[in-house]
Symmetry: C2
Subunit: 501 residues, 2 copies
């Protein structure tokens, strides 16, 4: 799975190898000025011997980008020469080689309409996996929504025994108890793990969509999931559950299909993307799109923008954890090298463990995910806004049976009123009215800098203002930041378990 979800990057054998390659000590010209072999005398133009001239520095942390490129090319060469299938020859991105046997795919053969486009997608594939057994009454299904970069593989299955991105939370006796519930997880629309996205083949051209793929919305992702649910004959979900971007989808599912969702769980999400989270994602997209390999999104028959994607992932990783966690975990520790003390001078490349950690996270991600998927899906997150005017502008409205209209209720707000209430709070409450009758769990984390706890309180307040008296709200402490939903089985899992019963 995606390595952000892997347990310990220090345990990973590749890290040490990567660190050795990227040894930045030799990246600084003065790092061994006490060693004579690196100082060579130079003659000045006037013919006089000058002070020793410094050797030119090298930068392994930069050279690794070219090294990665060579590695990709040689891997692809050996693949294409060993492949008996001529159609699979030539460079091929690694994510284009999924193992379709490890997940199921629903092919939706009809045009699929989109929020921001007049032209529907001509067809749709949705990759999904399931855990547990559907009850005879078909009333125990839980739809689990993913964050930006995850696949449908939330937990290990017989077909794919590799640990999933939410392994500890899905299974018998776990937060999503598969001895009780039938859990479904899909790869999102726009993704690159089996569901239609920019890397998919456009039937009109027989080539990958690339950036001719339309801009998509969180609502589109949810409607794609409901196309699957219709196909599976699932009229009503017991619950819709998601964290991060998955929480956006979870809220959107409850909002679009109020009669088809029993309960909604939103963990570390938001109903209105804030400018600071947009800023963080904008920085990632900018870095990625500036990589010449991105080539306007048309890289599927050539080298992918692996360097831009690595740099983007480094920025993203900063937003997933918290400063206090890093202070406990890394502090100001330097990475260890088998060197003499003499050589331990700082370099322009990485010195501190926190830097090696970010480097490693980016390196692991950059060949496992499609750059265009990152762009499209992060854009969908930016565009997500459940304030009333935004929903009206998009022409969105709930589908099927809707609850009777309710008046916004200030009395129902259970939080102490915020000192500086956000001006958009009433509009958000008005937008969320279709959720007025759905039991909802909102869970936030105080150390989250990407979906700050203020947004969690705002969401709970807005929901309570709709008159919803079944809003459960928890805040977690701890230092794990946004990633808490991946790590804190006891508290996140416990809150979900309690709410679902």
């Amino acid at each position: 799975m995606l390595n952000r979800y892997s347990k310990s990057f220090f345990q990973h054998p590749h890290l040490r190898a990567a660190a050795a390659i990227a040894n930045p000590r030799i990246g600084h010209a003065r790092s061994s000025t006490s060693s004579n072999q690196r100082l060579k005398p130079a003659l000045q133009p006037n013919g006089l011997a000058s002070t020793p001239r410094r050797s030119l520095p090298s930068f392994p942390c930069v050279a690794q980008h070219a090294a990665r490129e060579s590695r990709i090319l040689s891997q692809r060469e050996s693949q294409s020469s060993s492949s008996p299938d001529p159609s699979s020859s030539g460079p091929e991105p690694p994510y284009a080689r999924p193992s379709p046997s490890t997940y199921q795919t629903y092919h939706h053969a009809e045009p699929f309409r989109l929020t921001y486009s007049d032209t529907p997608l001509p067809e749709l594939d949705i990759a999904y996996e399931t855990w547990g057994t559907l009850s005879p009454a078909r009333d125990n299904a839980i739809l689990l929504h993913t964050g930006l970069s995850a696949s449908s593989h939330a937990a290990s299955t017989r077909e794919n025994p590799a640990p999933g991105w939410w392994e500890k939370f899905v299974g018998p006796g776990r937060a999503l108890d598969t001895s009780q519930f039938f859990v479904i997880c899909t790869n999102v629309l726009g993704g690159c793990y089996g569901t239609t996205g920019p890397s998919s083949i456009d039937p009109a051209t027989s080539e990958p969509y690339a950036t001719t793929f339309p801009v998509i919305s969180i609502f589109d992702m949810v409607r794609a999931q409901y196309a699957l649910l219709d196909h599976l004959g699932l009229e009503k979900l017991y619950a819709s559950v998601g964290s991060s971007m998955g929480a956006m989808q979870s809220l959107a599912a409850g909002w679009m299909f109020p009669g088809r969702v029993g309960k909604v769980v939103s963990i570390s999400g938001t109903a209105r993307s804030s400018p600071s989270s947009i800023a963080m994602r904008f920085a990632q997209r900018s870095v990625l799109m500036a990589d010449p390999n991105w080539n306007g999104g048309f890289y599927y028959d050539r080298l992918p923008p692996h360097t831009g994607l690595k740099l983007a992932r480094q920025i993203a990783t900063i937003t997933y954890r918290s400063g206090p966690e890093w202070d406990i975990r890394f502090g100001r520790q330097l990475q260890a090298f088998p060197e003499t003390a003499e050589q331990r001078t700082p370099a322009l490349c990485a010195d501190f463990l926190i830097e090696t950690y970010l480097d490693y996270q980016g390196e692991q991600f950059c060949l496992k995910y499609d750059a265009n998927s990152l762009i499209y899906i992060s854009k969908a997150m930016d565009l997500f806004d459940m304030t009333e005017s935004s929903l009206v502008e998009l022409g969105l409205s709930p589908i099927g049976s809707t609850p009777p209209p309710t008046k916004p209720s200030v009395q129902a707000r259970l939080h102490p009123p915020p000192a500086n209430p956000a001006p958009h709070l009433p509009a958000l409450a008005a937008g969320l009215r279709p959720l007025a009758h759905t039991p909802i769990l909102i869970l936030g984390v105080q150390s989250d800098i990407l979906f700050p706890v203020d947004q969690q309180r705002e969401l709970a307040d807005a929901l309570r203002m709709t008159g919803n008296s079944h809003v459960s709200y928890y805040e977690l402490g701890g230092v794990w930041g946004h990633d808490t939903f991946l790590l804190d089985e006891q508290n996140v899992g416990g809150a979900i378990r309690g709410f679902l019963l």
Copy 2:
């Protein structure tokens, strides 16, 4: 001056022009699918007319990088053809054309030793400006330290009437009252505005140092300033004042020269760079160094890494303000375009005002500052750590008269003890012992995400633990984040004024 300090980016005429160039609406292929001229029918391999084929998308937000490159080249061509001096022909970075007449330069002709290098710098230039008049007793000098990217031009002078980066804080009756004090501000060691840095000529090679420049420390920056003070015959400062990286220098000055600094002001700084701030600066350096134009730092005779520098500045800008400020200032507003409503579909380039703001900040910065200076100076910030073991390891000790040793005093701590005291607090207090007798103002901002308020409290606590009973500590509210020191004349200025009297 640097545009981060400019008042309103919306008032800037260039912005509208840039926004028009970078109009991202046309950057999305589906943005005008309702317009027939953008849809061209295509024949499928089977000879049947297919559904209309989408035109290829264009991305003005990416194309602007190449456009900037062309602009730089043509500007340089016109400069070199109009220049009568053959030595100035060829490409030349804009920051290599300062106006030396607008500041003074002290040439330090002796070798200058450095913290992390066995080889001293052979010589040193220090650019500086002054305001006010030195008293006959020479007892009214204030040394003002700058943040990462600022020049010596803190405020307008007769020689340079352009507003300085701290214009509102330096002048008669202002926070640094020039009718009372003689204020000195230098460009830091490693900078690119007149003081020796990586863009300076190495006398050993007659070429720019580039990345043969040694890694420098905050302590080196301060000792360079003291070389200037010695030259000016200033034995003792009335005060050392700085914000952000300037606060690090301010603390280091009081620490290294306890007998020569009357008072220390530290605004939104730290005595120990945290892993989260290192992470933010690492992301910036990584992006910059990945730009092929960076070329291992050797770009002074060719095109500079303007794209990498722009992207790095975008990341930095995110850390300078706060989410709540952006919510008030930008919210989810889209940038305005003279377009029909039909065309108002989202693009993969910028849509929201917050994105245009970051783009603009990066664009303005990327040709005004030296990329290598950013790398070296941000590295010096990362390396800054006044915990005892770190100071001992570097062999640093106070110079000249030192106060008598004091015992760390837990009793002197005036803050309520933190619930989870940082494990390094006692070591930091031990390291800060040379500051035990210096009156110090610590000022922090609650919305600062780069130098969080916890670090301000920690610094004040550690100083009080040295037995220092003259620690003034203020926290400011507001939404301006780290940039508060540039904006909040009333509260920041007021605290300084009160402390200096």
